[in-house]
């Protein structure tokens, strides 16, 4: 029933063979075909630009005031590519292998191999667009290392890589707007998919400035709407990041894949109080140069700099000597939680560990710089000063951000960090062509489930977003649209559009007329608390069952007691939020159901009942070597479909970073 449409043949030939035999649409016909793209982050902007260049008539939508604001912009550390510019043993196969292993063997081999193949094209494309990647003195591209790998394959632009890549894609998109190939709808939010004869044929969206509902037709609809980390309320996502577009698609028949696979990022600035609205990431690239530690003594009252070297526990280096501070994110997060739970946490809340740069300031950067400048026998102070200059160039914006938020200078004292929700590997189920289980409806980037299994490696989200948008969808979409060239644009007076708009309007009216007592924000916070406590870094059957009941109760409360001020036909941010939170509540329930069903630990999904003797995630390949693809059947009612994962090239083993 679930056909993933993986092409036959050897793994390394599949994508080439596919491209060689895929159906094409001639340029004259492309002009007659309309494509809707929801979301303008890396996946959406790159898809809009690439499809516009091909000549399709593209309509792109974002809820922000400009496509340049999409949350891809906040990605910090870098983008992976198997260029092997460092001559350190990288290859397409190794990037493929690292990604599958990093994902704890829960991703589809064929998709991941394709991702690794096109990774090299992405870097070339971005350089051609003028993305200012970091360079060596010889003028060539520089690399840094990231977690879960032993090669340096991450391309970067200081701590603003996402910004620079997104602006590259945004500029390419705006160029197509200028050429008339793309029409941009900003401050618009998609509120439903319109299906006609089983195919996605358009969307209903709300103009967030006027509050009016609009109908838009497309021969195909592409969702590029990002992840759903904000279901936890506190996450590193932007305030507006939401699941609504993906959730509406799910309710229209698109299966939701592995919803419980959430990435908790190990290095974020810790929570300070109830007022907190979001959490801020400190890039994984900092783990290149920072060493993570806690005091060896419980509840040590001393300041970090007063604790001598031999009284510090560099627990990642101790537990994982081969990868040290560069273990994958799920492993690093759990290790931090383990230390804090055991009473070794630092800071006022004791829910933090240190990320310390002093060692590398002196030894790595200071000494190298002193050598370059010919300073003999430099003293400690000189080394620190020289080291700081280098670190400032590499990570200056991150250090500044840390200081603004915490009021502490991380060049002088170690950063305090703690894990936080960051990325969602789960998402809409898609086949090899990125089509969901609804014909003509596609999902790209973080909003699909496809490439990262149960845990994403650092610097791979940017790679996937751009791979899907620039290099995959231009081929796979043509394969579908080639059979649609005879379909005339369907007028939006068609009854399917009328009915869909009415359903959206009814729901908005219902929300506005509850006129209860509780704010959207307070209900969202409560949902987040349930999710974080019972479906967060560690999960167990009893907690998940409780969470499901609590979420169902919260849903009732939301629909009977939420208060949304203002009116429908005007700009109304509270109404926008209410629409999103209502969907998050439903999603939260499904995530807990999925987490309960998957009675194994894998990657970021850690079931306490399933761990090895030394506390590592223990998979059960005999029972769970599948993608959970949940089919929406009705209110709180889902059916589980399974896509079996067949590993033909890689042999799944217990992940080992020791």
């Amino acid at each position: 029933m679930l056909d993933s449409k993986i092409p036959p043949g050897k793994l390394e030939d599949k994508w080439n063979d596919y491209k060689g035999h895929v159906k094409l649409v001639n340029p004259a016909n492309k002009r007659k075909l309309e494509v809707i793209i929801v979301g303008t982050g890396l996946a959406g902007a790159s898809a809009a630009a690439a499809l516009g260049e091909l000549g399709y008539r593209v309509k792109a939508y974002c809820f922000q005031d400009s496509p340049r604001r999409a949350h891809s912009i906040a990605a910090q550390g870098g983008i992976n590519a198997a260029k092997n510019y460092q001559n350190d043993g990288d290859s397409v196969f190794r990037l493929f292998y690292d990604t599958i292993k990093g994902g704890d063997y829960r991703a589809r081999e064929s998709n991941v191999h394709r991702l690794a193949e096109v990774s090299v094209n992405i870097i070339d494309q971005c350089v051609a667009q003028g993305v200012p990647f970091a360079r060596e003195y010889g003028g060539l591209l520089n690399n840094r290392s990231f977690g879960g790998t032993q090669v340096k394959r991450t391309f970067y632009a200081a701590g603003q890589t996402g910004q620079q890549l997104l602006i590259g894609a945004y500029q390419a998109l705006e160029r197509q707007v200028a050429l008339g190939n793309v029409t941009m709808y900003s401050r618009h939010e998609m509120l439903d998919i319109v299906k006609i004869d089983g195919k996605a044929r358009g969307i209903i969206c709300r103009n967030l400035v006027t509050g009016e509902l609009e109908r838009h037709f497309g021969h195909a609809v592409l969702l590029c709407s990002g992840g759903y980390g904000n279901v936890f309320y506190l996450s590193t996502n932007a305030m507006g990041s939401n699941v609504t577009a993906a959730w509406k698609a799910h309710k229209q028949g698109a299966y939701f894949g592995n919803p419980c696979f959430t990435q908790i990022h190990p290095t974020c600035i810790p929570v300070t109080g109830d007022h907190q609205s979001k959490l801020t990431l400190m890039s994984e690239s900092l783990r290149n140069d920072g060493r993570i530690w806690v005091p060896k003594k419980k509840d040590d009252p001393r300041k970090a700099n007063d604790i001598p070297e031999d009284e510090r526990d560099y627990y990642l280096e101790r537990r994982y000597p081969a990868f040290g501070n560069l273990v994958p994110r799920d492993v690093a997060s759990r290790a931090a939680k383990e230390r804090c739970d055991a009473g070794y946490g630092v800071g006022t809340t004791k829910q933090a560990v240190y990320l310390d740069f002093k060692y590398n300031l002196i030894n790595k950067y200071g000494k190298t710089e002193a050598g370059k400048q010919g300073i003999e026998n430099p003293d400690q102070e000189t080394l620190i000063r020289l080291g700081k200059e280098v670190v400032k160039e590499e990570y200056g914006n991150l250090f500044d951000m840390y200081e603004k938020i915490t009021g502490e200078n991380p060049y002088e004292v170690p950063m305090r960090i703690y894990p936080a929700v960051h990325y969602t590997m789960g998402g809409l189920w898609v086949d090899y062509e990125l089509m969901t289980s609804v014909t003509g409806l596609y999902a790209l980037g973080e909003c699909n489930f496809s490439d990262h299994g149960a845990n994403r490696l650092g610097a791979s989200a940017l790679m996937q977003g751009l791979a899907d948008g620039y290099f995959v969808i231009p081929y796979t979409l043509g394969n579908y649209l080639a059979d649609e060239i005879g379909t005339k644009p369907i007028p939006t007076t068609h009854e399917a559009f009328v009915e869909a708009e009415k359903a959206v309007a009814d729901r908005i009216n219902k929300l506005m007329n509850i006129k209860g007592k509780q704010s959207v924000e307070s209900l969202h916070k409560r949902l987040g608390k349930i999710m974080w406590e019972k479906c967060g870094m560690a999960r167990n059957a009893q907690g998940l069952k409780e969470a499901i009941d609590e979420i169902r109760a919260l849903k009732k409360e939301f629909w009977s007691d939420v208060r949304i001020p203002g009116e429908i036909n005007e700009m109304n941010p509270e109404l926008d939020k209410a629409n999103r939170v209502a969907d998050f509540i439903e999603l939260g329930e499904l995530m807990c159901i999925d987490a309960l069903n998957r009675a194994e630990s894998c990657g970021g999904h850690f079931r306490e009942e399933s761990q090895t003797e030394d506390g590592e995630a223990l998979r059960h390949d005999d029972q769970f070597m599948y993608v959970s693809a949940w089919e929406y059947k009705g209110d709180s009612d889902w059916q589980l479909n399974k896509e079996e994962l067949n590993y033909e090239v890689i042999k799944p083993t217990q992940r080992n970073y020791k």
Partner: protein, 254 residues
């Protein structure tokens, strides 16, 4: 870092939509923690307003980590408030003390119409980019990234210019509402790179023409833009833009 709490008076611009006149409203907030961000203080105020059955204040914000460029408050007469090189979302309440009165307005510029309360329409920036803020290269025909060596210093300068987040603080700070810092950052980013060279003349002419068409004022080099830019985009970019513009205007075939 010592933490403390404070009570504040806020005078905030309220405006229902672009067609009606707005005015200042006064609000009071209590027990604001010095650890909060400025926008979290607004969250507290809005939560309070919802509970009182009043309409909350609309403001633009998204990433809350100083990179998306969406937040845009004019705080005590200065875009993004008192801290140097900081967006509104990264401004923290440590910058204020108990008993302070804080005045908050939207960006003020004819080219940025107020949509509601503190939210303005910055679509003009997108249209300026459409006029030429890109390199015309279609997907799929790029050469190997390392075939184009770029002098590190040039690459670093291009990166510094490309750090612009398009928030519009430069326009809000300028007495002429000029968009020169924004435009010059993009012109510089692309002109400094060899990939941007083939289009450098048409790019600068077209972007400036669009900037004028959008109604932004002229630049008189007072430097107010640079002083408030959260990404510390340098005034040197404007000098570079002027050079590019003169060169292009003198040599282009009409």
């Amino acid at each position: 870092m010592e933490h403390y709490t404070m009570n504040l008076t806020l005078k905030v611009w309220k405006q229902k939509n672009k067609d009606v006149r707005g005015s200042f409203e006064t609000y009071r907030v209590k027990d604001i923690s010095s650890e909060m961000s400025f926008l979290e203080m607004f969250d507290v105020l809005n939560e309070q307003l919802v509970h009182e059955g009043k309409e909350p204040i609309a403001f633009d914000h998204d990433c809350r980590e100083g990179i998306c460029g969406m937040c845009s408050m004019y705080i005590n007469g200065r875009p993004h408030g008192p801290w140097h090189g900081t967006t509104t979302c990264q401004l923290h309440m440590r910058a204020f003390k108990d008993g302070d009165t804080i005045v908050v307005e939207p960006w003020r510029a004819n080219s940025f119409a107020v949509i509601k309360d503190l939210i303005v329409d910055r679509g003009a920036f997108d249209r300026i980019i459409q006029a030429g803020g890109f390199i015309s290269v279609n997907t799929g025909n790029a050469q190997d990234g390392n075939n184009i060596p770029i002098e590190k210093e040039k690459a670093d300068q291009a990166f510094a210019a490309a750090a612009c987040i398009g928030c519009g603080a430069c326009v809000a700070a300028c007495k002429n509402s000029s968009a020169m810092l924004f435009v010059s950052a993009k012109v510089s980013h692309l002109a400094l790179l060899p990939q941007g060279a083939p289009e450098k003349r048409t790019r600068v002419l077209n972007m400036i023409a669009q900037m004028d068409k959008e109604g932004f004022g002229a630049c008189t080099n007072t430097g107010a833009c640079e002083a408030v830019c959260p990404k510390e985009i340098s005034l040197e970019n404007i000098a570079r833009l002027n050079k590019e513009y003169l060169g292009a205007a003198a040599t282009i075939d009409k």
